[in-house]
Symmetry: C2
Subunit: 298 residues, 2 copies
């Protein structure tokens, strides 16, 4: 009860629990081999913060009010399935070849490569299944499917750009960097926000404003990440720092310097907040999230 | 014109061209890196016979008449994208480790493993995107998405059963074999047929009959495959024969003997044809397909 008073739009913890419960029920209910369900569950329930699903639910509340979040749950779970599949496949030996994620063995280390490939594939199909099964309004289901599918492919395109190159060579380096990030991390973040808005019945104007907010926080998230990569110690970040720069990848500090990157973050935060100017206090959690992303220290 | 007279429901060649054109336009229109589009095109346009899309279009014609096939095109393309992604991922070193497919290097040999993983992932999302973009009726789009997503996961489950085991141990061996095939090859074949029916506006009774037809020809296809594997020379099959039996996999001839398998094929053909008894001559191509599958020699 106290939490309700402090957080008129529900606490983050309550929304988090709603997301976890919804995903757990859906995944456990699939008629699949136990080993496959176990592999998927290992990857999905591994201590993730559910940044994208929470954004989706908060956007839905900004549009449709406190209880509106329920309408965004299927899309939110679908987004997290896509996000998790991308982590599982990115960790594979043929890709980033990572043995650890969030302090635990990656899925292909925990099981085997074949299972990690198949579990990732199954999570992708399951994301679209979740929307088709749980969204009652068919037109909304179709729009959510379209948003998620296009974003998934944009994310994959970003992975191709990042690991194999191929960005538009006519662009300035800073625009090539933005192109990579808009795809690799931005597309799914943008989809989280747009899908929450669509599920909540947003107007075209609202959807447009929220998309601008999405693009700004997506790039901001990456600029902060790059900045922390060069300014923080490995200890604080929980991963090797300076890795991107040493691999010769394009980064914000590499292109704009540390002060220039701080200026870019400030500019993007202003863009994000201005995009929300026509929203009332129901969008306050979105304003808080932008502020937190701009000032995070790990 | 002559073809029209000979084939009142359009020639297979015309339907084939319609499928190729539809997929080519859709894939080329995606805003993705050229290298990724090239990889996907290499895998998709490699001389496949389009068995599943053709089935889908023929079913749609059986329900909705000659021109009805157009309504089934988005689903048919989506099914072929899913089928192709599964081949690309199954060929990977961590899975079947195949260097050749249809006489050409497999995608990971033609490009590299990372690209083959990413291209497979992109084809999956693209399948759902295709349905969401091209199917006009939202309720039908939702039903097609559900069919395809559930079938994709059933297919992946079949791959798990086939390579890692885990079938229901309480079942008799012949039922374990059927369980594997119903998943691994049957689910997508069944989806092809059901999706063609749904796109064509089939009644529940029609959908039920066509699902029985689908299950019968799915198992029949596999029984014929197993039979050819032990009775044909490697030369005629274009691949190593006797491979499944030598790997200790469950097969129809292994469980029922050669004559028993021939009896099973006959029984399944009868089931398939009986399931079509309430359909008129528009279902003749489906009857022909069942007969051809039962008597094929490679």
């Amino acid at each position: 009860m106290e939490a309700e008073v402090k957080h008129p739009l529900m606490s983050e913890r309550d929304l988090f629990e709603a997301i976890e419960g919804s995903m757990r029920t859906f995944i456990a209910g699939r008629p699949l081999p136990v080993s496959l369900i176990d592999a998927i569950s290992y990857a999905i329930f591994s201590g993730g913060k559910r940044v994208r699903p929470l954004l989706s639910l908060r956007v839905c509340q900004a549009v449709a009010g406190k209880q509106g979040y329920e309408r965004a749950l299927p899309g939110a779970g679908a987004i997290e399935l896509i996000h998790t599949f991308s982590l599982v496949h990115d960790d594979l030996p043929a890709m980033d070849d990572d043995d650890l994620r969030r302090g635990r063995p990656t899925l292909h280390k925990h099981t085997n490569e074949a299972m990690a490939i198949l579990a990732g594939d199954a999570m992708t199909a399951m994301a679209f299944e979740l929307i088709s099964v749980q969204v009652e309004d068919s037109l909304i289901a179709q729009r959510l499917t379209h948003e998620l599918a296009a974003a998934t492919n944009a994310m994959i395109a970003g992975q191709v750009y990042d690991t194999m190159g191929g960005q538009d060579a006519m662009l300035e380096p800073i625009e090539q960097l933005r192109q990579t990030h808009r795809h690799k991390t931005g597309a799914l973040l943008r989809a989280s926000i747009r899908m929450g808005a669509i599920a909540g019945g947003a107007s075209e104007d609202q959807l447009e404003s929220l998309s601008i907010y999405a693009d700004a926080i997506g790039l901001m998230f990456q600029a902060v990440d790059d900045l922390l990569d060069v300014t923080q110690t490995t200890d604080k970040m929980g991963k090797a720092t300076g890795k991107d720069a040493s691999q010769g990848k394009l980064t914000y500090p590499g292109l704009l310097g540390i002060d220039g990157t701080r200026g870019e973050i400030k500019k993007l935060l202003t863009q994000a907040l201005e995009a929300l100017s026509s929203f009332d206090s129901k969008a306050d959690p979105l304003r808080d999230m932008a502020n937190k992303l701009a000032t995070r220290e790990k």
